[in-house]
Symmetry: C2
Subunit: 165 residues, 2 copies
């Protein structure tokens, strides 16, 4: 009987369960929208959006894998798929011949543009419409802190590889 599950308050449990439920339901809905609007999987959208967010729309493979929390081989697979659809290009870095730089193409930006409005609409309908502005501000503040904390942990794309330092 390992019934001693440390200390968890009911409020903590409620927060956690609500979080996972929102996460799951939102994820399903968003996945459907992305599939319908742009024939993108969630990971593919994350990859394109991450590239779109970065300066020049380009990132090294490993950096991209780190941000999306993905294995290197998994990223290679998806990068091939996206390249095959003309949404990204891959080219060796001039700085470091070992590195490959993934860059968003204009077609990739178009797809992102085609998908984003519906994505936002879904967010409004599913999430924001039920919350006040103050709630949303609280959420942003709290989750930003949690994200910063989580990111500090070292869950690197490939386990056996260490960080830069």
């Amino acid at each position: 009987m390992t019934r001693n599950t440390a200390e968890v308050t009911p409020t903590q449990l409620q927060a956690y369960f609500a979080f996972t439920e929102v996460s799951s339901l939102l994820r399903h809905a968003v996945e459907k929208q992305l599939r319908d609007a742009g024939d993108l999987s969630y990971v593919q959208f994350q990859l394109l959006a991450t590239l779109g967010d970065s300066p020049d729309g380009r990132l090294r493979m490993t950096d991209l894998a780190d941000r999306v929390v993905y294995s290197r081989s998994g990223l290679t697979y998806q990068a091939q798929v996206l390249e095959g659809r003309g949404l990204v290009t891959r080219a060796p870095s001039s700085d470091d011949e070992r590195s490959v730089v993934v860059a968003l193409t204009s077609a990739g930006r178009d797809v992102l543009g085609a998908v984003f409005p519906g994505h936002i609409d879904a967010l409004h309908r599913l999430l924001f419409s039920s919350l006040t502005d103050a709630d949303i501000a609280d959420l942003a503040r709290i989750l930003q802190r949690a994200a910063d904390h989580l990111r500090a942990d070292p869950p690197r794309s490939a386990a056996p590889r260490r960080r830069k330092a």
Copy 2:
């Protein structure tokens, strides 16, 4: 140029991105813990935990699929796996001969018990340790509301099937 992505405030975007980041990082960490501690996938844990939460530890297939947001065939697959490992049983319902009732076995409860402490520890370390009690209470309140709203939408386990009424 569908550049009119409706109205999204920076705060909303921040809330959304932080939410997805926390969700993704937490999910990865928790999946690893579940795999290590009980050789369970995330979905399998959700299924066992949902059964454990319900009265008598038993639910009909469709009800279980609905709660975990899962396709019927996907649940059949996982139920077979879990039954093969002796963690659940399946038996036809006496009320309705069409229905199958899935029940948690004592071995299933043991696995849940073996996995839960580490699960809680991970939550503490990854999530709660970075937040104040007030933050957690806010989170619980806000996300509970969001979850209620999302659940009201009809994202049933199998699309072509309607709800009870």
